[in-house]
């Protein structure tokens, strides 16, 4: 396996809301190789989103370390985290979080304008199969199309890391497959290390590796013998 680009050690996260403390992560050791496609599975509340957010520089760990290439995220300033997200990370969420007042192309341009070596927004949208929807506003697109715009927006900067939190969660099976196809295609075309959280065990088959979360820990990690193409997945 190639050298790990992403590595966490002893990652814990404690949420203190009032008098109650919730331990969302209880020591997560994880690594991913450059270009690897990893699916994160696990019951609701097992800490997957918390993990992804910390890895993506959106949230901070209570203890432990996160390294991305030669960046130490745990000790980074707010500004350094912002730059990390800006330069290296692409996010896709369950709710697409598009800017309603911007068209598909403009939503993507939002990122390419500030990225260091971006693709053209049109090219990013072509990768996710939306070359003919450039000038549509989010309200004029279906859920799956909106999610694909979000993916195009996430990949247009050619990120080293692509983080997806339940990207198909709000979509029906048919549309979901299209989104997964887009993700695997992007993974292979730009070589981004891709982490995808899902509830859907079926989806795991498209990954290089499947990591199981339970109660704030990684309980298993298994490499798929062979990856199935997204188009063959049904659920």
């Amino acid at each position: 396996m190639a050298a790990a680009i992403l590595r966490t050690e002893g990652l814990t996260k404690i949420y203190a809301t009032g008098s109650v403390e919730v331990q969302a992560l209880r020591g997560v050791d994880f690594e991913a190789a450059a270009g690897e496609f990893v699916v994160l599975l696990g019951p609701s509340g097992s800490g997957k989103s918390t993990f992804l957010n910390i890895v993506g520089g959106l949230d901070r760990a209570s203890s432990g370390t996160v390294r991305f290439a030669d960046h130490e995220l745990t000790t980074s300033t707010e500004r350094a985290l912002t730059l990390y997200r800006r330069d290296h990370v692409g996010f896709v969420f369950q709710f697409y979080n598009l800017v309603p007042s911007l068209t598909a192309r403009e939503n993507v341009a939002l990122v390419t304008e500030i990225a260091r070596a971006p693709m053209r927004p049109e090219d990013a949208l072509a990768i996710v199969g939306l070359a003919d929807r450039l000038d549509h506003f989010p309200a004029q697109l279906s859920g799956g199309e909106q999610q694909r715009v979000a993916i195009a927006r996430a990949i247009a900067k050619r990120p080293e890391v692509l983080l997806c939190d339940e990207p198909t969660g709000a979509l029906d099976s048919h549309t979901g497959v299209k989104v997964l196809e887009a993700l695997t295609q992007v993974n292979s075309e730009i070589g981004a290390t891709t982490l995808v959280i899902t509830h859907n065990v079926a989806i795991a088959e498209i990954a290089d590796r499947v990591v199981h979360f339970a109660d704030g820990r990684i309980v298993s990690s298994a490499t798929n013998a062979h990856r199935r193409p997204a188009a063959e997945i049904v659920w």
């Binding site: 989103s49 959106l58 949230d59 912002t82 997200r85 007042s101 304008e113 004029q140 927006r153 709000a170």
Partner: protein, 787 residues
């Protein structure tokens, strides 16, 4: 407490900063109303009480010399309640510590009885003894300005003879609330005072034993003033009567009245502006709150709450805010009104203040505030009440943006997407954006509409003192003198130029419109005291006819070529006709001007002078003043530079208070509008802004989006604000204008600049307050939820 009430309280607490901003704007509206009306009511009430308690006269007349026996006939005029015959004369004073000559109105006090009219309000000391010719009572402002007290002494030239006087009392009189010296336009308490002496002493000095030179009447309630004036004129005509007049033409009353009317006028101009802004803010805030609460509303309806109940819930929210605003406004307005009344009370030297509370005004303020708030809420609340529950529980259709002009422009200009976002957001809710622009513009307008007065004052002073009346001093003679007096004055130390004038008391008439004026007659070629045309250029007075000030011409409804009727107040009230031959620009009083020779023809006599205007060598000023103080050349000496300084100081002092209040209010409006807009915009776009942070935009870049939106609105508002401000300035000028002075509307460039600076500052402050919220946007939270 019902659940909806609990929700009401929670909503108010949750939205407190926005609620506070609206309350502040509403409070500004009702406060300006209460302040103006309250201060006016208190001062008007005080004046009425003062007039009544001290029996201020209703009708006044001056006469050369009339026998006191005439008093009985005067008393028989229908409606006359009291008659006081007195002696009133102007005299030059020589005050120990004042280099300039001062002057006084000497007024007789009846010996051994109290006056029936215009009673003194004694502050200290006592009345003069009838036998003692040196004892005097002086007016309090004059005493204070000169640090005189009982026992102080000064000298007066009484009928040409110097007399040492001793102060035995200090008093106030309703007759001299606003004590303006002859030739002056503002009270100069140092140089002009009222000196009351025993009638015995004055009659002896002026050879008026058994006679009087002034008569004041009090009328019975309901009596006809016009008839009393006409009858009095008839009686006094053969004794050199100079025309009786009512309170309207009594100097002190007229000035006082003008000031109070201005105060009242101000309270009508501003409140509507604040209330309109408040209505808009209510509308904007409520619309957003309700948009966020759609699902709750649907749920409440599904649970069986009626449309009316829910509508009422939101109206209650508005009512609480409005009552809060009105309440705060009434409290602050009453407090400011009392302060303002005290300020004016001090300025006028009222002996006491009768604070008047007018609950009816409070009710009006509260009612109008509620009404404007409900007007702002009506549409939104009606929509809520009509919303079918099923539809309400569905999330609102996603905001649909459309392609338009903006896109093409943005693409052409290659604008950043964040800026495109801003422009689309502003353009998407045009009414709200326009409303905000208008709100900010109104705050600019309030500032422009108050700050311009400084420039206006400068113009007025420049025109009056530098271009028109450029003399160093005006000397008023004790009595008419022949032309030869010119040479005599010219020989005084330091005098370089002497120009004659004549002042002719008259009534000027066109049809039924009539004004009591003094026609000012000047020699041809006068270079000190000039008259100006519309463009402030000096013009030669026509050899024939009469020149009217633009204000007087407007009141009479005449123009060049028209004929007016002139009734001479002296000379048996002979009526003559005169053609209007020029229109003159003045800002003070109702002026009418004639060539000196034309005036002689009008009076059917040779040229005589009432006084002169002079220019003198400043190096020899002290010598000149010494002569004027000790020899009976003039009955009064008006000094232009000093008058101008006092005028400026007094006005600036009064304006400072007003300007401070208005600038504060303007800032409140700007802050309130921008803050509410920013909060609502943040509430609508918070999720997008957070997701931009996720994408890697910095805090600065994300705040920049909201700031750009605020900047667009604030900048767009400026030119509109300048225009509205100019309109407001004209409204203010109309409110400030009266027959005593006119206020030219000039708006110099620094006025809009300052106004814009102040509003932009207020906008910046509110933007910075909101920025703290943007910096603390929860990035993770927005990702979990659909809006």
């Amino acid at each position: 407490m019902s659940v909806l009430r609990v929700k009401l309280v929670r909503d108010l607490l949750r939205l407190w900063p926005q609620v506070l901003a609206i309350v502040a704007v509403m409070a500004a509206g009702s406060a300006t109303l209460i302040l103006g009306v309250g201060a006016y009511a208190t001062l008007a009430e005080t004046r009425a009480a003062y007039y009544e308690r001290n029996r201020f006269a209703d009708v006044f007349a001056e006469v050369t010399r009339a026998p006191k026996a005439l008093g009985e006939e005067i008393a028989r005029i229908p409606g006359v309640a009291a008659v006081e015959m007195r002696i009133a004369k102007l005299a030059v004073l020589d005050l120990p510590d004042l280099p300039e000559p001062a002057s006084a109105m000497l007024v007789s006090l009846p010996d051994r009885r109290e006056a029936t009219v215009d009673r003194l309000h004694m502050i200290r000391g006592r009345s003069p003894m009838a036998e003692d010719e040196r004892e005097v009572v002086v007016s309090q402002p004059f005493a204070d300005a000169n640090r005189f007290d009982v026992g102080s002494r000064f000298a007066a030239l009484i009928d040409g003879r110097r007399r040492e006087l001793t102060i035995v009392g200090v008093a106030l009189s309703p007759e001299f609330v606003y004590a303006i010296g002859p030739g002056d336009i503002m009270p100069d308490d140092r140089r002009f005072g009222v000196v009351w002496m025993s009638e015995h002493a004055l009659a002896g000095a002026y050879d008026l034993v058994g006679a009087f030179s002034s008569v004041h009447l009090r009328l019975m309630r309901g009596a006809s003033e016009a008839e009393a004036i006409a009858r009095l004129d008839d009686l006094l005509a053969r004794w050199g009567g100079r025309g009786a007049y009512g309170r309207r033409d009594q100097t002190s009353h007229a000035f006082l009245d003008a000031e109070l009317k201005q105060l009242e006028a101000m309270s009508r101009i501003l409140p509507p502006i604040f209330l309109a802004v408040a209505a808009f803010l209510v509308n904007m805030t409520l619309a957003r709150t309700i948009a966020l609460e759609r699902e709750q509303i649907g749920l409440m309806k599904a649970l069986g709450r009626g449309d009316l109940e829910i509508g009422r819930h939101y109206l209650e929210f508005v009512a609480v805010v409005a009552i809060g605003g009105a309440g705060l406004g009434i409290a602050v307005g009453t407090w400011l009104g009392d302060g303002m009344a005290r300020l004016y009370g001090d300025f006028f030297h009222f002996p006491f203040l009768v604070f008047r509370r007018s609950p009816e005004t409070w009710a009006i303020a509260a009612g109008v505030t509620l009404l404007s708030a409900f007007a702002g809420a009506a549409q939104t609340v009606a929509r809520v009440a009509r919303l079918p529950p099923a539809e309400a529980m569905r999330p609102p259709a996603p905001t649909r943006y459309r392609h338009g002009l903006v896109d093409r422009l943005a693409r052409r200009l290659g604008l950043r997407q964040t800026l495109v976002m801003v422009i689309r957001h502003v353009a998407h809710a045009p009414l709200r954006s326009l409303g905000s622009i208008l709100g900010i513009a109104l705050s600019v307008a309030v500032l422009v509409g108050s700050l311009w007065v400084y420039g206006s004052m400068d113009l007025m002073l420049d025109v009056t003192f530098q271009r028109a009346d450029r003399q160093d001093a005006t000397l008023g003679f004790v009595r008419e003198r022949p032309l030869a007096a010119l040479g005599e004055v010219g020989a005084l130390p330091g005098v370089t130029v002497v120009e004659p004038f004549r002042s002719i008391p008259a009534k000027i008439r066109n049809g039924r419109t009539e004004r009591r004026i003094a026609i000012s007659a000047r020699a041809a070629g006068a270079d000190l005291s000039r008259v100006l045309d519309r463009d402030f250029r000096p013009v030669e007075l026509p050899k024939e006819g009469i020149a009217l000030s633009d204000a007087l011409a407007r009141i009479l409804g005449v123009g060049v070529g028209d004929t007016v009727e002139i009734e001479l107040s002296e000379r048996n009230r002979r009526v003559a006709k005169a053609t209007v031959t020029a229109i003159i620009t003045t800002y003070l009083g109702l002026g009418a001007y004639m060539d000196l020779d034309a005036a002689g023809r009008l009076l059917r006599e040779g040229t005589a002078l009432d006084g002169v205007t002079i220019a003198y060598d400043p190096v020899r000023e002290a010598d000149l003043f010494a002569v004027l103080k000790t020899t009976p050349v003039a009955a009064f000496v008006a000094l232009q530079k000093r008058a101008m300084r006092i005028y400026r100081d007094t006005l600036e002092q009064n304006l400072l208070v007003m300007i401070t209040v208005y600038v504060t209010l303007g800032m409140i409006v700007a802050f309130g509008v921008v803050y509410n807009f920013a909060r609502i915009s943040l509430s609508e776009q918070g999720r997008e802004l957070a997701s931009l942070r996720v994408l890697g935009l910095t805090r600065g870049e994300v705040s920049g989006i909201l700031f750009a939106e605020l900047a667009i609105l604030t900048l767009a508002a400026q030119p509109i604000g300048w225009l509205l401000g100019a309109g407001l300035a004209h409204g203010m000028a109309a409110g400030l204008e009266n027959e005593l002075y006119r206020v030219p509307v000039v708006i110099l460039a620094d006025v809009p600049a300052t106004a814009s600076g102040v509003t932009i500052l207020a906008a910046l402050i509110s933007a910075l307050v909101v920025r703290r919220r943007i910096d603390h946007l929860d990035l993770v939270e927005v990702l979990k939820t659909r809006e």
